[in-house]
């Protein structure tokens, strides 16, 4: 059969590459801003739109979905065409993919600072944007599968396996975790509540890391590393073992984010066991990558691209060992809620994702512009700035994590907490926060060096939008006698995709479904737990909107130091009406689950207006806008109705009384405040927030004291 001529589409790759760099710089800049706010709260610029709780999700979303997301598309569109010897399936779909994704990011940049959030980590975007993400992701999927079906290469290379797994799994995760009932255009309530919501969220959260930050990047590594090093892949068989083991095992590990919480312990045990089993499959990628460099280590010494890739793979190897260690419950007991987790994800994000992206860009851009890299020296400068940045970022975080965790847990000889005041443990680690921000600054400055270098490179070359290529058309397979079993699968993309889907669904099915079935038996047994009043519900929405969950957990673990500090440990039954759950994953400030009725209303009012008036030295930002703004009283009935649909047992027709009910409760708070000399109005946001804060964790308080 004859040789066919065709063209690779470089233009869409160029666009995705530029988007990667631009959004990367923006995302990291926002990261630097939030890092600064942790030791200098004034760095919120005095505006609600740039305050920590709202822009931390902006930072995470920008880095994960804008920086890494665009890098994935750039790398996948570049490598897939070449690995399959064909142009992308459909140019229009490619461009819908590009512009759609950028629009989603712009929507995130607008809505997150405005306080529109579902509060679910890494899935904060509200329902209309969620739908857009699903649509664009499917467009990407169709384009990818179409390209595979139109290939001129009989077998799919390992990179393609990883792309397929990433596409399928992210689609499943995103759709299930985003199940929500809309209340209005930019507000919805999660379909799941409490423990179930937590389990779904961390099944998603963990696997977003797995299938958005890990598997696509393994695919990219399998293409760009052997290309840049000009060495063969070390082991084909290792690729097979670690691919299947990785995607099958990863999906089970989510519950390790919820050790010692109210999550049933069978799920916790599975989370730990599967996390430990993940060590070898994850390392498989590292081993295959590093051994591919066998015989090329002399090049690594000089070539900045390979240096980036080697550090990326090493960072990956460290992070995927650290992860399972953090999943051991005795380690989690120390590390959870601290900066350890922050350090861990940043080793992954800055080291693995960041450095592999940089290596890829330095390799790909000169190719597409048909020139050489403008300056190898600048690339090396970038490498060292980045590496130092990672060290300055991660090491202080480990120190701060262990320091703070041990301070939390320390008791005096009198049997009292050694540091009963949470704030004293925060103040202890402020210098570490400064060093961390410095690390971030170094890393970001490296990115700017790269931007300059790449722009110069582009300027000196000429861009080749359509790269000519040729390959023989795919022939019908003559039945060969002996073919390795997996090699057979590799030429059956549909079959392969179905197998992948089965592998990734199993873990989810086995963990999620039983927990839903157990719902009625286990969880709702606490009779004293009642739905939130309308005003408390409104206050809870303000809590969600301000991103309080970014710094405050609502999950007291069964440790003596925590019950001494915060009160009775949290029970699963207390969260049955929590759509969404707000357990949080980080304690920059204290846990709030038993904050209710601990302080007078006026304490909260003063504290929200100026935290330092009630807690001198506090790094919490002030929230004056909660006092100057009002909530929408008329919007409450709709919220009640949605909650009823989700199964929250408000009496029928309660929505009609909701406004009056809220107003009455608000007036009570107003008069409490007045008694302490504070003037307020029932419709101020602060009043609703106080109602919620004073309710938190109190349902069970009565029961506990009655039992005594």
């Amino acid at each position: 059969m004859g040789i066919e001529k065709f063209h690779y589409d470089n233009k869409v790759v160029k666009y995705f590459s530029i988007a990667t760099v631009v959004w990367g710089a923006i995302g990291m800049l926002v990261g630097l801003l939030v890092a600064t706010q942790l030791f200098l709260p004034e760095a919120n610029l005095g505006s609600q739109y740039t305050t920590y709780g709202r822009i931390r999700p902006l930072h995470t979303n920008a880095v994960i979905f804008a920086f890494v997301g665009n890098a994935i598309f750039a790398g996948v569109y570049y490598s897939m065409q070449r690995l399959l010897k064909t142009r992308m399936f459909n140019d229009t779909l490619s461009w819908i993919n590009f512009w759609g994704w950028q629009l989603i990011i712009v929507a995130a940049v607008i809505t997150l600072p405005m306080g529109f959030t579902s509060s679910k980590e890494y899935a904060e975007l509200e329902w209309p944007i969620d739908i857009a993400i699903a649509l664009i992701w499917v467009v990407f999927g169709i384009n990818m599968i179409g390209t595979i079906l139109r290939r001129r290469e009989r077998h799919m290379y390992v990179a393609i396996w990883f792309y397929i797994a990433s596409f399928v799994t992210v689609a499943v995760l995103h759709i299930v975790n985003s199940f929500a009932l809309p209340v209005s255009f930019m507000k919805s309530y999660s379909a799941f509540a409490g423990v179930q919501d937590a389990l779904v969220q961390w099944w998603y959260g963990h696997n977003a890391v797995a299938f958005f930050l890990t598997t696509p990047y393994l695919g990219l590594m399998y293409y760009f590393l052997p290309k840049a090093a000009n060495r063969p892949i070390y082991s084909y068989k290792l690729s097979i073992v670690h691919f299947w083991a990785l995607i099958f095992l990863y999906i089970w590990a989510g519950p390790h984010h919820l050790l010692y919480t109210s999550l049933p312990e069978w799920a916790q045990a599975l989370g730990t066991a599967f996390s430990i089993m993940l060590i070898a499959p994850s390392w498989g990628g590292m081993v295959n990558g590093l051994l591919t460099l066998r015989g090329a280590w002399d090049k690594v010494r000089e070539d900045a691209i390979l240096k980036f890739m080697v550090v990326a793979i090493t960072a990956y190897g460290m992070a995927v060992f650290e992860g399972p260690m953090l999943s051991l419950k005795n380690v989690s007991a120390i590390a959870h809620y601290t900066d350890w987790i922050v350090a861990h994800v940043h080793i992954g994000a800055l080291g693995w994702n960041g450095f592999l992206t940089f290596g890829m860009l330095y390799w790909m851009i000169p190719k597409m512009w048909q020139t050489k890299l403008f300056s190898n020296k600048l690339a090396n400068t970038h490498f060292w700035l980045g590496t130092l940045g990672i060290l300055f970022y991660a090491l202080p975080m480990y120190v701060s994590a262990i320091t703070q965790s041990l301070m939390w847990k320390e008791f005096t000889a009198d049997g009292l907490l050694a540091y009963p005041n949470f704030l004293s443990t925060t103040l202890q680690i402020i210098p570490m926060y400064m060093l961390r921000a410095f690390g971030g600054l170094l890393y970001l400055s490296g990115v700017f060096v790269m931007v300059y270098n790449l722009m110069k490179t582009a300027k000196q070359g000429t861009f080749l939008a359509n790269e000519a290529a040729e390959a023989p058309a795919l022939e019908k397979i003559q039945s060969k006698a002996k073919e390795y079993w997996h090699h057979v699968w590799e030429r059956k993309p549909i079959f392969f995709t179905i197998l992948t889907t089965v592998a990734i669904l199993l873990g989810g099915i086995f963990e999620l479904i039983p927990s839903f079935l157990l719902k009625n038996k286990d969880v709702t047994s606490i009779a004293s737990v009642q739905p939130y009043t309308p005003l408390e519900l409104e206050g809870r929405d303000i809590y969600i909107s301000e991103g309080c969950v970014g710094c405050h957990s609502q999950m007291i673990r069964p440790f003596r130091d925590e019950t001494e500090r915060y009160g009775e440990y949290s029970k699963a039954g207390e969260f049955v009406y929590d759509h969404p759950f707000l357990w949080g994953s980080k304690r920059t400030g204290p846990d709030l689950h038993r904050i209710g009725e601990k302080y007078p209303d006026s304490w909260h009012f003063n504290h929200m207006y100026d935290p330092r008036s009630m807690a001198p030295g506090s790094i919490m930002p002030p929230y004056p806008w909660l006092i100057s703004e009002t909530y929408d009283l008329a919007g409450i009935p709709a919220k009640i109705r949605v909650m009823q649909k989700l199964g929250v047992p408000y009496p029928e027709g309660f929505d009609e009384e909701a406004e009056a009910n809220a107003l009455a409760q608000a007036k009570g708070i107003v008069s409490n405040l007045k008694a302490d000399g504070i003037e307020s109005l029932p419709e101020q946001k602060i009043v609703a927030l106080i109602a919620y804060l004073q309710r938190m964790g109190t349902d069970i308080k009565m029961e506990v004291s009655e039992n005594k």
């Binding site: 293409y223 082991s235 081993v287 007078p600």
Partner: protein, 330 residues
């Protein structure tokens, strides 16, 4: 903080030994109770000394065995190699064999890797036919075994305690310690035994505690704010040392006064209660309106002398508060 550093060092091994370190935290806690070293404890008894001697002997024996085994292996290697050399094939060393079998697998020199090449070629990327490195395979099997044992040990056989059991053990241990302390008389101050004191040292200590914990709600000068005014003669929960001690110790949760018994020890609570009592009658910058009942201060048993002292103190304080310019005029 020294303690923290020490514990930080302790964490490293916990991290490394993973699940084996499950009990490290409790062990560490027990150490605090009994600061004696293990060896010292053992030396105290006859059996202990015997144990130590046996232990030392065992260690020496193990070392000897290691030396002997390595010698034997060396000899065996020499003999085997000789045979191999005789046959004309050089036999790889023991370590080389060990490495190939358990660690790296058979790796060909880079120049000869061509033999390992598969016929795969994807955009110029070739693949080789090496297997999974043995060490990785054994890590995989090891973690698999861990998982197979961990889940039943946790969920079925209760070998690994569940979190409620762990928590109850912590509480029990704390209760035991509290009992020990109570017997030693360390926590003997209660509302009944709390003493009214006007010692300067006590008041100064109390003031420090007050400023750190109470001032945000009751104001630095005691004038009140979120909490009631402490400088007036109106009382909600008792005006004597017993009443104040109880209020501080147990708190008034219904009104937002935190119980301080978990944060301050009884001596500290007594000190701060005495300081609070000393606030009565002092001037406040922005006194909150009175709450509770009027209960005029009993005449101080120590008489006029102290009153004069107090008055002088008040004047001094008032002067301090004046703007600098006025002070100069004086």
């Amino acid at each position: 903080m020294n303690n923290i550093l020490k514990r930080m060092l302790l964490v490293l091994p916990i991290f490394l030994i993973g699940s084996v370190g499950l009990y490290a935290q409790t062990e560490e806690a027990v150490e605090i109770l009994e600061p004696k070293s293990m060896i010292a404890t053992l030396m105290e008894s006859e059996q202990g000394r015997l144990l130590l001697i046996i232990g030392a002997l065992v260690i020496v024996l193990i070392l000897l065995m290691v030396v002997l085994t390595s010698l034997m292996l060396k000899t065996a290697n020499i003999i085997l190699n000789k045979k191999a050399v005789e046959k004309g094939v050089e036999r790889p060393s023991f370590f080389e064999q060990f490495k190939q079998k358990w660690v790296t697998g058979k790796l060909k020199p880079v120049e000869e890797q061509g033999d390992m090449m598969l016929d795969h070629n994807y955009d110029g990327i070739r693949e080789m036919d090496y297997g999974m490195p043995p060490w990785l395979k054994y890590v995989f099997i090891g973690t698999f075994l861990f998982a197979v044992f961990y889940v039943p040990a946790y969920l079925i056989f209760d070998i690994i305690p569940n979190q409620t059991t762990e928590y109850e053990a912590q509480i029990e241990e704390a209760a035991l310690r509290a009992e020990v302390r109570a017997k030693a008389g360390l926590m003997s101050i209660t509302a009944e035994t709390a003493k009214l004191e006007t010692d300067e040292a006590v008041i100064a200590a109390g003031k420090q505690i007050y400023m750190a914990n109470c001032a945000v709600c009751h104001a630095a000068d005691g004038g009140g704010g979120v909490g009631p005014n402490l400088t007036d003669e109106y009382w909600i929960h008792g005006e004597d040392i017993k009443g104040v001690f109880t209020t501080v110790y147990e708190g008034v949760p219904a009104k937002g006064m935190i119980p301080w018994k978990g944060n301050l020890n009884p001596k500290q609570i007594q000190d701060v209660s005495n300081y609070v009592l000393s606030l009565v009658g002092r001037p406040a910058a922005a006194p909150k309106e009175p709450q509770g009942e009027l209960k005029p201060r009993q005449v101080n048993p120590q008489g006029e002398e102290e009153k004069v002292e107090k008055a002088e103190e008040r004047i001094d304080e008032a002067v301090e508060k004046l703007p600098d310019s006025l002070q100069e005029n004086e």
